[in-house]
């Protein structure tokens, strides 16, 4: 009854679908009037098509300014910006922006428009017909994990913060833009919701292959989401621009080393996906099933707890064998505090979730929220030990 189907690791798929275009900056400078220092000082930079690049750096170093010059919400003082083979520096800004998705903190949804109206804004500007817009809105809500029938006609204030942020992502993707700009999009939600939003973004990106530029102040978020990370100093000077693995392994100088922090081995936890480690098999039981049989199966397997699944194979609680043996049927109640992470989550997320729930393990879900296995604190410790050993070598 226990199942630990092996799911391909998200990073392992070689020929992934890419719908993004490359971005190239050439000597881009922004000087705000009345300031003697340029906020962005002669930055040249290239982002490959379909890559997620994370911008990190101290507050005020020019990340937002650089990002907003990409969709020309801020006009560069000098320099050129290319999308794919196109020089867009002098293009009509409104036209340009309809081809670039833009996501800001808390979604930036218009409170007087329904979810559907918010998501449909760019398609309406592009004069799509009604039928096509309706279909696209439903498709996108599905993509970001919101049931269209439930959420289409709601107003933003009738949504939780995390749901608003999902709609914000759907809205940015509406006209299928090749580039997505995100400025600290998940900065205003609680850690658990943020982790789920990150997982969703990874899944969406896996599917769509956009070019994503993502500003964050959370280095773990950068490690988790980025194909590459750009670490900036004042004036948006690029100090290091590399893959998360290489930034951790070979930080370019003290500045980056300081930024990465002392716990570089611990940071490995942000690079390792739950899907990358061996999940523990576990005895499962259908809600409402006969307890005695389940208890016997668990004892035979040597498990001291059982994961209860609902009719669609989704975990709803994990009672101990002792608790179960006091019941006649497996309880159908949903444990709101059941610690759950996805396969895309990092071990750092898994550890956070365990700590938040004061539990020694987390349930892992895969496709459609069905059970994939369990990760225990021992697994996480083993990964830390291994990283330590590698560093010592």
């Amino acid at each position: 009854m226990s199942e630990t189907t092996s799911v391909p690791s998200p990073g392992a798929t070689g020929d992934r679908n890419i719908s993004g275009v490359s971005i190239r900056l050439e000597g881009v400078t922004k000087r705000y009037p009345g300031q003697d220092r340029a906020a962005v000082d002669d930055v040249s930079f290239e982002i490959a098509a379909g890559e997620t690049v994370m911008f990190v750096g101290p507050s005020g170093c020019g990340k937002t300014t650089l990002l907003k010059m990409l969709n020309r919400l801020i006009e560069p003082t000098s320099g050129r910006i290319h999308l794919g083979d196109e020089d867009v520096t002098d293009q009509d800004a409104d036209q340009l922006r309809r081809r670039i998705g833009y996501v800001i903190q808390a979604g930036g949804l218009f409170p007087h428009m329904t979810v559907a109206a918010n998501v449909g804004i760019v398609p309406r500007m592009l004069k799509w017909d009604r039928q096509r817009i309706t279909e696209r809105v439903d498709e996108l809500l599905d993509l970001v994990g919101l049931d269209p029938a439930v959420y289409r006609d709601r107003y933003p204030r009738e949504l939780s913060g995390g749901q608003q942020q999902r709609v914000g992502v759907a809205r940015a993707l509406a006209a299928d833009p090749p580039v997505l700009l995100m400025d600290e999009p998940f900065g205003a939600v609680d850690p658990i919701t943020r982790q789920r939003l990150q997982d969703e973004l990874l899944r969406i990106q896996e599917e769509l292959g956009k070019t994503i530029v993502f500003v964050t102040h959370d280095f773990d978020e950068a490690l988790k989401l980025g194909d590459k990370i750009a670490i900036f100093d004042v004036g948006a000077r690029v100090v290091q621009y590399d893959t998360p693995e290489r930034i951790l392994a070979e930080p370019a100088g003290d500045y980056v080393a300081d930024f990465v922090g002392a716990g570089a081995t611990l940071k490995q936890l942000s690079l390792t996906r739950v899907a990358d480690v061996q999940l523990e098999p576990v005895t499962t039981a259908l809600a409402g099933a006969d307890s005695t049989a389940v208890v016997a199966a668990a004892q035979a397997a040597g498990d001291d707890f059982v994961v209860v699944l609902d009719g669609r194979g989704r975990p709803i609680s994990w009672p101990t064998v002792a608790e179960l043996s006091r019941t006649t049927t497996v309880p159908v109640t949903v444990d709101e505090r059941l610690p759950v992470v996805g396969l895309q989550s990092t071990l750092n997320d898994a550890l956070d979730t365990m700590l938040a729930a004061s539990q020694g393990g987390v349930v892992v879900t895969g496709r459609r929220d069905s059970l994939a296995g369990v990760v225990t604190v021992e697994t996480v410790m083993a990964v830390i030990q291994q990283a330590r050993a590698e560093v010592a070598r």
Binding site: D94, R98, I104, T114, Q163, D369
Partner: protein, 271 residues
Amino acid sequence: MTAATEARPDGAPDGVPAEETARQADDSAARDGGWRALALQPALIGLGVLAFLVWRATAELSETEDRQLGATVLWNSIREHVYLTVVAAVVVLLIAIPLGIALTRPRLRRFSPLVIGVANTGQAAPAIGLFVLLATWLGFGFRTTVIALVIYAALPVLRNTMVGLQGVDARLVEAGRGMGMSARSVLLRVELPLAVPVLLAGVRTALVLLVGTATLATFIDGGGLGVLINTGITLSLDSLLISGAVLVALLALAADWLGRVVEHVARPKGL
């Protein structure tokens, strides 16, 4: 699931959070309460009108009083008063709203604190002074009255248009521009709808102010219910004075009610 308010990624019903249902119930209660309050006001006004008519039919009045409070004279005064108010209100809307919009655009934004300051002080200046000053300059009559009323009542509309637009979250404007909406389209589809509640509150204030201030028209030959009050004062006839005052109060209440209805109907859903 750990995050109870998050939808499950596959969109399975996650149960409407209790907090949310409460909020929606709250909402509809507020809306019903709103309509109930809106229904009460015309009832009070109707009662006031009825009381006046009963008093008028039964009171012992002198010949002068009877003539001044005759149906034709009264009706004409009321019509004049309403006409003054409506004409001034239309001109106010046509001038103050576009001006308020212009003063909150990036190009003129630096003047807006100054204008709001002037608008606030202007509100405190005595209206009668304005009427007299304008009359000595432009002469007596309807036109001058309307100009004086417009100047006086434009201030709250101008101020509330600006405050309402300034109150719109700058991030929403940026989100709109960031999606490729033109500045004009952001104004029409985001900023103005969101500013509507504050803007209309200013319009309602202006309407009530206009009904009250229009009583001063009599001093510069503008007509209206002020004539009745003024006659009452000069001839020491309390019945005229009080009748005029009561009718102006009832009109002001009616204007206020009208404003509230518009505010209620025009308020964007979802706020």
